[in-house]
Symmetry: C2
Subunit: 395 residues, 2 copies
């Protein structure tokens, strides 16, 4: 392998099942990228992390595609500026590590921040070389297809001709499907979790309310908030609170919070009365200080735009006809954002093409967010499937 | 009857099935009202409309209780300031009128704006006699129970000892239940449509996001926006957009809008791309110019607080044990805000008390909003039930 992101003073030996301390790598691409919109990115950066070792015949690579608010920091721990190790693990640390379902003793796992993100890849909050100012709202809108093109270039850089598996949940699952269609020879297995072939009107409606919340914040300044030394925290906060409701199930919220009050009795004023309110406000506050508003807008737009069957008279099967990968499709019973029926549409279209498809509808109470959580049946399923993937290259 | 709100130059003869042109009446109450919160309203106004004639033995009165954004203008048309007749009918005009399910040829129908509303009853946007300024955020929070107390006083003013029926959808249905418990001898029939015994954590979560959207609008000014010559339009707009999604079903949005684009192709910028976005933005714009933000907050709080079984160890049956009315409970198959299962909880608790209960689960695609719509099976059901009610007083 050409690059390792393992920290030279790794603590991996000290944290069982963890990839340990990791550091991201930035690759600068000079080759212009033509986007679906027609716009061209003359040059761009992608930030990524890798875990495990690429084997001699480069056959053991896994690409992890992130969802709306994810990034390249999939597993392990970063080192803080003061040299201490952060206590916050990567977003899919329960899945990626030595002995974990995506086993870094066997696989070479790659996570990257997508174009338009705010984790270090080129996006609205990075410098526009053409102007010397931050891109802000001038960063071009990107699509799932654009991401796949940029990820393929990163694979070239890493010397990976074919991924053993490309894996993603939600918007990440859409990328895994797109890979299988756009680069049929470069994906051996596509693992598509909690995804959908396209957003429904209700899905788009929630996206739009989140966007309006951000865009109508007076601190948004048409997206040039950095130039005004501010960020649209209020709007982003409400957008995230709303998103959070759609990521969880009614049942889960009921079990976790129900109608529990913060105090023993109502205060009959406009302060927060219920625990569920505190929880949402906390989530919103937290997110609004760490995530870029323009990136949030861009990511929701990429979700809205994804509808690959549209160019094939709404026949999903026709779009997937180019795919050669084996597929693992998984959904969660309590997911009302992308419900199991949406995954079954994908499964049917894959079957129509006589592709090898495994499908699992996993019992869970946590809604769409289940794909990020440590759920036994889910972990077992992923472990079993990845064992099968590993067996193909003799592991 | 003591008061008629029929316009002296009524057009009722000209609009078949309509109660015609109507005008509201305001009654000023001087008797202080002690609220659930412990606060006392020393005096207050209630604005109301009536349709039809109260019969000699005052046995044909129906009270219509409104939901979150409803008011006293239930049926017919108002006269504009310039003398022309408004083209906008009352919010339940499809249900109330001569020959309609709530037949004004047989019933005397009363609609009022609840305390805390913004339609003309005392509320945050009316004058606080104690200060000579608008109440704004100082208007006390009210509960469903408080509303019922104030409505009973209005019934006294109108000379109605017992209502033939008290009818409401959503939050209005909660009031109908509360009436049956608080004034068992004053309600002959309670008609509870698309309601729930209490809000779920998810319901409260949506309320809280709406509230945060309003409260974090810089134009909110802690509720004293009128003193700053502004209104928190942006926040109210987003709150309404969000509410709207929860009032409609995924299926209905899919059938009505799907992924229809506004233009033939994507613009790949942050303008509105889909019809569903236009629709929501239009609804939000419209609402934000006509509704008071403090009232919106207050109404969502009244919804959140409603949980009458809580004082009875969460036994809904125990709370309903005082009721004597016959009940008609109706729900809609596509309602995911207050789903049919929530109505069935009410039905079970009524059965536990050996009360006469009719229950109907009405097929509809329009979600929670179905209760406001002209749906044949729904109209037939209400018509049949109200025929039974009318038969009791010989109509």
């Amino acid at each position: 392998m050409r690059s390792s992101t393992k920290d030279s003073t790794s603590h991996s030996g000290q944290i069982p099942g963890s990839v340990g301390v990791v550091a991201p790598v930035i690759h600068h691409f000079e080759q212009p990228l033509e986007l679906t919109s027609g716009a061209v990115l003359p040059a761009y950066d992608l930030i990524y992390e890798t875990y495990g070792e690429l084997n001699a015949d480069r056959s053991n690579a896994i690409l992890i595609c992130h969802a709306l608010s994810g990034d390249h920091h999939v597993a392990g721990y970063h080192r803080n500026d003061d040299g201490t190790v952060s206590t916050k693990a990567g977003w899919w640390d329960n899945m990626v590590g030595p002995g974990k379902p995506f086993d870094t003793d066997r696989f070479f796992v790659v996570g990257l921040n997508n174009l338009g993100g705010c984790g270090g890849s080129s996006g609205p909050s990075s410098m526009n070389p053409a102007t010397g100012r931050l891109y802000g709202p001038d960063f071009p809108l990107v699509t799932v297809s654009d991401w796949v093109q940029s990820q393929a270039r990163l694979a070239d850089v890493l010397g990976i001709e074919q991924f053993a598996a490309i894996i993603g949940g939600s918007l990440g699952g859409m990328q895994a499907m797109q890979w299988a269609v756009d680069f049929p020879d470069r994906v051996r297995h596509a693992v598509v979790v909690a995804a959908a072939p396209k957003l429904s009107a209700q899905n788009i409606a929630f996206s739009e309310v989140a966007r309006q919340s951000i865009r109508s914040d007076p601190d948004f300044h048409d997206g040039r908030y950095f130039e005004h030394d501010t960020v649209p925290k209020r709007g982003l906060r409400v957008a995230r609170m709303l998103g959070h409701i759609t990521y969880l199930s009614d049942e889960h919220l009921g079990e976790k919070f129900g109608r529990q009050m913060r105090e023993g009795q109502f205060s009959f004023d406009y302060t927060v009365e219920f625990q569920i309110e505190s929880y949402l406000n906390y989530q919103g506050d937290n997110f609004s200080t760490r995530f870029d508003a323009n990136t949030y807008l861009l990511m929701t737009k990429a979700l809205d735009y994804f509808d690959p069957a549209a160019a094939h008279d709404d026949r999903l099967s026709a779009w997937l006809s180019r795919a050669k990968a084996d597929f693992m499709v998984a959904s969660f019973t309590s997911d009302w954002r992308f419900s199991p029926s949406r995954s079954r549409e994908i499964v049917k279209a894959l079957h129509d093409n006589n592709l090898n498809v495994s499908y699992a509808e996993i019992e869970s109470k946590e809604g769409h967010d289940s794909f990020l959580l440590e759920i036994d049946a889910y972990q077992d399923l992923m472990r079993a499937y990845l064992n099968r993937v590993a067996a193909e290259f003799g592991q």
